[in-house]
């Protein structure tokens, strides 16, 4: 057993009240507030041990768990015959085997004043995404430092992330003081070192304390080993620090609508979690982005209507007037509403093994809004690792796993937002890969770009319908996709000849031809291929606005970009034609000799060889060129198109 004498008479044990007057205890517990905090820092700084200690000292560990802990400690513990508290927390088999923390573990304990949720975050850089997960819901961060090692790369990285994500209460816990003989000079030197770094990244204040998670010094009781320290113990500090979320109630009212509650024709309620401010029946509110106003009629709950509801409550609002309002809209204070915009500067933390692709369309989820978004090449990434240059801006073409960078983003629809610094709910978002559905990044909106507000759409008198009507056809984009040498250009050419022959106004955009002009600045990297397709898509859209039937012949290997182009067009205008020629066949044809070059390594990023081709899942036409001649395919396409809409 370790030295637990300090733990035996901890100040926040409540057994006495539980045993003597359970009703009084419940009354007290009922009114407790909640503090969510994270512990972070470098590997082996003793995070799990500290949490194990907090649980142990607050009697959150039961006899059966303790018995298991004692036997586990002897078997696999890292503390010899003594109790290894980390084993209480590291719950995954792989973690216990390797003695490291991989994922965030959430733990719970109570004192007389508060209920605590602790997220124990992994120290290894490769698990940063798990650390960010833990930090995003925390009110406070305990940054641990091994007194023997001082400020390390991960200390800096985690401090930066905590600050970035908006945690304003930071505790610097200089741990393992027992291993440096509780030396004040060591403590002071580390605090000074950290203070310099903290200032450089904008952390205004932090609370430093000397502790030993393993021995229990300054955790719940003031330690006799550090007479030179006069500050609070860790638990005292956690119990009294102000919880930031209370400040949310003083901001203007905002509630993103999650769900429209409509059990029958007589009831229509808007359900959501109040992000900031408060609301009362009679309050004038504005629905965004439409800007329509109404009054709050009722705040409905199962326990009866409420007189008032505040930030943090999940409620259902009924409005006085029938206004259009659905999931994704935001109900806000009428004379102080948030803005909507479609271009922003954002800070991104990249969380996926697959690097960010500038120009690629991702899903962006912010509050209850989900929109399609493209991210530009980052303006810079932040260096958080280097001791001297922490916080320095470095140039980068993309964002790799765990990179933090600033970039401009553009959404396909206006987004109701607030800068992250003003409100987490309307400023924080995640990016989701459209194919794998993985959450690839966390982001924070810094501000809307002025050009989004100042470039207005010029209304034109001759509409696209007028252009099409004059040509007596329905504009379309016939998008031919397939491997190099699959026969796209050949078939597209035949289709255009046939359409031309029956008096249709057409234009063929050919991959090679476009690369001689409009896109001659682009190469064949993934990012350049995406930009290539984006430009062709925009040109095709302008041509459909002019009433043309556009044919395009591009390899266009990625589903996401083809979907992006589809999204640019009016519904039904985009026709995907998959020229399905097996790689062996296309390679055997090798009309331009490109496969030979790619195989010999002279040509990099060649689709089908060292760059993937993502076949369409549900193309409008699929042409198997091993079974159907180009002429037959062209005939089939034209006949069907004319059949769909005789006036095409």
């Amino acid at each position: 057993m370790t030295d637990t004498t300090a733990a035996q008479d901890v100040i926040y044990r409540t057994d006495a009240l539980i045993a003597e007057d359970i009703d009084a205890y419940l009354e007290q517990h009922q009114h407790k507030t909640m503090l969510r905090f994270i512990t972070c820092g470098s590997v082996d700084d003793g995070k799990s041990t500290l949490i194990g200690r907090l649980l142990y000292d607050s009697k959150m560990i039961f006899e059966d768990q303790l018995a298991a802990l004692e036997s586990d400690s002897k078997k696999v513990g890292t503390q010899g015959q003594e109790i290894d508290f980390a084993l209480l927390v590291d719950g995954l088999a792989a973690e216990r085997e390797q003695g490291i923390t991989i994922d965030v573990a959430y733990r719970f304990f109570n004192t007389e004043k508060r209920k605590f949720i602790v997220a124990d975050c992994p120290g290894h850089e490769q698990y940063t995404r798990n650390m960010v997960t833990g930090a995003s819901t925390a009110d406070l961060a305990v940054i641990l430092i091994d007194a023997r090692k001082g400020v390390l790369v991960q200390t800096r990285r985690h401090s930066y992330l905590c600050h970035l994500i908006g945690i304003r209460n930071i505790v610097l816990a200089v741990n393992k003081m027992d291993l440096v003989d509780y030396d004040q000079a060591t403590f002071d030197a580390i605090v000074k070192d950290y203070a310099t770094f903290a200032r450089s990244i904008g952390i205004e204040s932090f609370t430093a304390m000397p502790i030993s998670g393993f021995r229990g010094d300054n955790i719940t009781t003031r330690s006799a080993n550090t007479p030179w320290y006069s500050g609070p113990t860790l638990v005292e500090h956690l119990e009294t620090v102000e919880v930031l979320s209370t400040a949310d109630a003083d901001k203007p009212f905002r509630m993103p609508v999650q769900w429209v509650n409509r059990p029958n024709l007589d009831f229509r309620g808007f359900s959501g979690l109040i992000a900031t401010g408060s609301v009362k029946p009679g309050d004038e509110v504005r629905i965004l982005p439409s800007g329509k106003t109404s009054k709050v009629a009722r705040i409905v709950t199962l326990d009866g209507d409420l007189e008032q509801a505040v930030a943090g409550q999940s409620v259902t609002l009924c409005l006085a007037a029938e206004v259009d309002c659905s999931r994704g809209d935001v109900i806000a204070l009428a004379d102080n509403p948030p803005q909507a915009a479609d271009q922003f500067e954002a800070t991104l933390v990249w969380l996926n093994d697959e690097a960010m692709l500038p120009g690629r369309a991702y899903w962006l989820k912010l509050a209850t809004q989900t929109v399609s978004v493209t991210v530009q090449q980052p303006k810079y990434v932040v260096n958080v690792n280097d001791a001297g240059g922490a916080g320095a801006h470095l140039a980068a073409k993309t964002l790799e796993l765990n990179a933090i960078g600033v970039a401009e983003i553009a959404t396909d629809k206006p987004l109701v937002f607030e800068p992250y610094a003003e409100g987490r709910t309307l400023g924080g978002f995640v990016l989701i890969d459209k194919m794998s559905n993985a959450t690839v990044a966390a982001g924070m909106l810094n501000f809307a770009l002025r050009r989004a507000q100042n470039v207005h759409w010029q209304a034109l008198d001759i509409s696209r319908e007028a252009h099409a009507a004059l040509k007596r056809q329905k504009p379309r984009v016939l998008w031919f996709t397939g491997l190099s040498g699959s026969g796209k250009s050949t078939i597209a050419n035949l289709v255009e000849k046939r359409l031309h022959a029956v008096g249709k106004h057409t234009f063929l955009l050919d991959g090679d031809n476009v690369r001689h002009g409009l896109n001659k600045d682009l190469g064949f990297t993934e990012a350049d291929r995406i930009e290539n397709i984006r430009r062709v898509g925009e040109v095709a859209r302008l041509m459909t606005d002019a009433g043309l039937i556009v044919l395009t012949a591009f390899i266009s290997p990625f589903r996401a970009e083809r979907e992006m182009v589809r999204g640019l067009m009016a519904p039904g205008e985009f026709v995907e034609i998959f020229v399905d020629t097996p790689l062996e066949v296309a390679e055997a044809r090798d009309v331009k000799g490109l496969y030979r070059k790619a195989r010999s390594g002279q040509l990099k990023n060649f689709t089908g060889i060292d760059s993937p081709y993502e076949a369409p899942e549900n193309p409008d036409f699929r042409i198997d060129t091993t079974k159907e001649t180009p002429e037959a395919a062209a005939e089939r396409i034209v006949n069907e198109l004319l059949g769909w809409a005789p006036t095409i």
Binding site: A19, K32, T33, N261, S436, N437, T439
Partner: protein
């Protein structure tokens, strides 16, 4: 819950979080379901669901994956709650387990595997549910402490603990590929005490087995159990166990031959809570299931598709 104050208590925040999660699932999933095990956590989940969608009934069915070995009092409560909530109640019993006569005495871990793990997978596949609410809490067990609120399962219901999606703020990514599903845990951040206190404050109906009463008990492998169906016990065991009347209650409810009873005199909720707080063993200690497969029992079960 009164609202005319600025500071929310921890229970207010937990309730609000759970309601928000349930609404997100209903808004984004195509075919959600709530797993209902009739225990106290299920009782709280059901109450939260009714609050989340009031005045509409919760827009999803309840699913009970039954082992046929639950306490009688649980079956009674199940029928009552389905009626009161106005929700559809689906009951699934693994036909293969029934056919093979799988029981907790002869088959040990296989009982849980066949009735619960396999039964659950069968039911989810049968109805094509793409999101299932579960009442698991992070304070229950070490691998649960690591699980996200939206927990992804492959088409074969597997869980990959080393590769969980980042889950930031209260933004839940509910997108998935065909065949994949999500297990959603709205009360992840509640502790056992929070559950009890919530039941107390909201008068949430729970199975009477949680309160102490004179009940017929027997000892098996060193633990105290209740003879809920003595005839059936005798048939499976091959002998009639010695029955002693004792004042007992249960800290968790599962299959009656697998759920240890504790001797107790707590007949009111505050007394039950008092006992819970003063106890020296953890809640799941009465459950035989966690002790299988060594320290990582639950993690392995979850990877195989157990809730």
């Amino acid at each position: 819950m009164t609202a005319d104050r600025r500071t929310l208590t921890h229970l207010d925040r937990l309730e609000s979080e759970a309601i928000h999660i349930m609404r997100e699932v209903v808004a984004e999933a195509t075919n959600p379901v709530m797993l209902y095990s009739v225990g106290k956590d299920s009782a709280v989940m059901l109450h939260l669901a009714r609050k989340a969608f009031y005045p509409s009934p919760p827009p999803f069915p309840l699913l009970h994956v039954d082992t046929t070995w639950k306490f009688q009092a649980m079956y009674e409560m199940r029928a009552r709650m389905a009626e009161e909530s106005g929700m559809e109640l689906l009951i699934h019993q693994n036909p293969e387990a029934a056919e093979r006569g799988i029981n907790p005495f002869d088959h040990g871990p296989l009982h849980t595997d066949m009735w619960k793990t396999e039964g659950l997978k069968q039911a989810l596949d049968k109805y094509g549910f793409d999101a299932a609410f579960g009442g698991a809490r992070r304070d229950e067990e070490k691998s649960r402490a690591k699980e996200r609120i939206f927990s992804f399962r492959t088409a074969s219901h597997g869980w990959d603990p080393k590769n969980q999606r980042p889950e930031l703020w209260n933004l839940y990514n509910a997108r998935k590929n065909k065949g994949e599903s999500i297990r959603v845990f709205p009360i992840s951040n509640w502790t056992e005490l929070d559950i009890w206190q919530y039941i107390h404050l909201n008068n949430v109906p729970i199975v009477p087995l949680y309160f102490a009463e004179e009940r017929p008990t027997y000892e098996w492998e060193g633990q105290l159990f209740m003879a809920d169906d003595i005839e059936r016990l005798e048939k499976v065991l091959g002998y009639r166990p010695e029955i002693t009347m004792k004042s007992v209650r249960f800290r968790t409810l599962g299959c009656f031959p697998l759920t240890g009873a504790v001797e107790s005199t707590a007949t009111t909720l505050p007394e039950v809570i008092q006992e819970t707080l003063l106890t020296t063993t953890s809640e799941r200690q009465g459950r035989v299931i966690d002790r299988d497969a060594g320290g990582a029992g639950m993690e392995v079960k979850k990877q195989q598709g157990y809730f």
